[in-house]
Symmetry: C2
Subunit: 250 residues, 2 copies
DNA sequence: ACCACTTAGTTGTAAAATACAACTAACTTA
DNA sequence: TAAGTTAGTTGTATTTTACAACTAAGTGGT
C-alpha cells in the first residue's frame, strides 16, 4: 500500500520509530559560577562506558517519559548535580556528528547555566561519580574531556564572555544580595579587564534591573555598601553598547 | 554480566541503539532573503504525512549515512530547495518536546540562512512539493504552519532583527556586488526604521568588511554609485554598539 | 579623641562619538 | 543647459564616554 494513500491517522498507527536509524540524543550543561574571584565550570567524572573514568560536562540522555521538553531535561540534570532549582539557564548550541560518540551518530543540546556559588551542594550521588569545580582561567588545569566536550566548553566560555559585554547576565553569578562593587568585580573577572566605576554604575542604574534592598548594607572595616538584588520578574537586560566600548568583540 | 565490568570495547560491541527509546531528530531551516524591498522567508508544502498538504519550514531527517554533521545536513537541505551552495548559515536553536510531532518525542536543530534573492532557482523537485517565498512583514499572509514551525519562524525573525542591530549580517542578503545605499536599504528593511546616512557609512567603513570593486559602478539616471563586495574570508563583524543607538533591543 | 586606612560612592572635565541637517558631486533626460 | 535624482561629504550642537580626582563613612590603632 503506497505511503501517500494512507490517511494521517492510519499513517501514524503504522509508524514505528524503531524502524529507522535515529541518532542518539542527549543534553549537556556548561555550569558556571564564580568562586574565589575566578570563573569556574562544573565537571563530573564518568561512571560508565564509554569514556569511563574520564571527566566530562554534566548531562545525559533525555528521559522521554519524564522530561516534557529539552529545557526540562536540562533543568533536571542541573538539579541532580547541584541541587539548584532556579538557575539562569539558556540553550547554548547543538552539536552532532558521526564521530563524537563511539556508539554512533549522536547529537547533544548543550545548555549554559549560571549559578551563585553559595547555592551549591554538590551531589556526588548516583553512580558515585565525582563532581568538581575547575577554574576556567587556568586552561592548563582543565583535564582532557570525553566526547567533544572540550569544544562545547570552549563554545560556552566564548558565549558567556561575549554576552557579558552587553547584558546583565553576571548578576546571576552572585547570591541574592550583593553590592555594586561585587557586581563590577564579576564583570571584570569574566571579561578579564577593568571597567570604569562611574560608567559602570551609570549603566547599571539605567538598566534598571536591580533593586536597592532598603536599609541593608555590607559592613566591614570601611564605609558600608548598599546591598542590591535582582528585580524579580526581570528579564536579562541588553545594553545598547558593549561595556568599556573601545574594543571589538567576536 | 554487570555493565560496569565490561571493557569499553566489549561494551561498544554489545551496544545496540535500537534497544533504547530515542527521540526523532531533524533539521529545519529558516531561510531569509530580501525581495522587492521586503524580508521574505521560504516555506514548502508537505508532500507526506504527518501534516500532509500543510506549509512548513524546509527541513527533514538527518541522513546518518551521508551527513557528516548537523551543518552538513542543513546545507544539504538548503541546497536541495534553493540550489544555493554557499549561504550564510548559522544554528538558530534546538527545539524538542513530546508533542510537537504526532509520531512522538522529537527534536529539531533549527538553522538560519541568509541568501541573495538573485541566487535562487527554487527546486520544486522531489515529491512535487511547492516552495514559495512569503513576506515576513505581512504576518497575516503567512499560512498556519505544521509542527511548531510558527514558533521556530518567530524565533528566527527575532534573532535576525536582533543581530542586524550590531553585526554585518545583512551583507549576505545582497548579491555579490552592491552599493552602500543598497546595504543601508537592507538594514532599514529588516530593522523597520531609518538610519542616518553618514553614521551608517562611518560604521561600515570602520567595520572594514567590504571591498570597493575598483572601477565598478551602478549606473542610472543620476550619479553613479560605487559597487562593493564582501571582503573574502571575512567573518561577520560585531559592532560595539547597536545602530542608531537610542533604542533598547530585546 | 583623633588620625591613618580602606572601600563606597560622586563629581568634573577633556575628548570622542552621535544625530541631524545641509551641502556638494555626478550623472541622465528633456 | 537646466531640472531632477541619487551619491557621497561636511559642519555642528548635543550626548556620551574615559579618566581621574574628589568626598563619604565606616574600622582600628595609638
Amino acid at each position: 500500500m503506497p505511503h501517500n494513500r494512507l490517511s494521517e491517522q492510519a499513517f501514524l498507527a503504522n509508524y514505528n520509530v524503531h524502524d529507522f536509524d535515529v541518532p542518539l540524543t542527549s543534553v549537556d550543561l556548561v555550569i558556571f559560577t564564580v568562586r574565589d574571584g575566578a570563573l569556574h565550570v562544573l565537571l563530573v567524572k564518568r561512571a560508565e562506558h564509554p569514556f569511563k573514568g574520564k571527566w566530562c560536562l554534566p548531562g545525559g540522555f533525555i528521559n522521554m517519559q519524564t522530561d516534557a521538553d529539552l529545557d526540562a531535561a536540562a533543568l533536571r540534570k542541573l538539579h541532580e548535580k547541584t541541587g539548584v532549582k532556579a538557575p539562569y539557564l539558556e540553550q547554548l548550541q547543538g552539536f552532532g556528528n558521526a564521530t563524537r560518540d563511539p556508539r554512533g551518530w549522536s547529537t547533544t543540546f548543550a545548555y549554559f547555566a549560571l549559578i551563585a556559588s553559595d547555592n551549591i551542594a554538590l551531589n556526588h550521588g548516583s553512580g558515585a561519580d565525582a563532581a568538581q569545580w575547575f577554574s576556567v582561567d587556568a586552561a592548563a588545569q582543565i583535564p582532557p574531556l570525553a566526547f567533544d566536550h572540550a569544544t562545547i566548553l570552549q563554545t560556552g566560555i566564548k558565549r558567556l564572555r561575549n554576552k557579558v559585554e552587553y547584558t546583565s547576565l553576571p548578576a546571576h553569578l552572585l547570591p541574592a544580595a550583593f553590592t555594586l562593587s561585587d557586581l563590577q568585580q564579576v564583570y571584570q573577572t569574566v571579561l578579564g579587564r577593568d571597567v570604569d566605576k562611574s560608567a559602570f554604575r551609570k549603566r547599571i542604574r539605567e538598566g534598571n534591573f536591580l533593586i536597592e534592598l532598603p536599609g541593608q548594607f555590607r559592613l566591614g572595616s570601611n564605609r558600608p555598601a548598599q546591598l542590591y538584588g535582582l528585580r524579580k520578574g526581570q528579564d536579562t537586560v541588553y545594553f545598547n553598547r558593549i561595556i568599556g566600548g573601545d574594543k571589538n568583540v567576536e
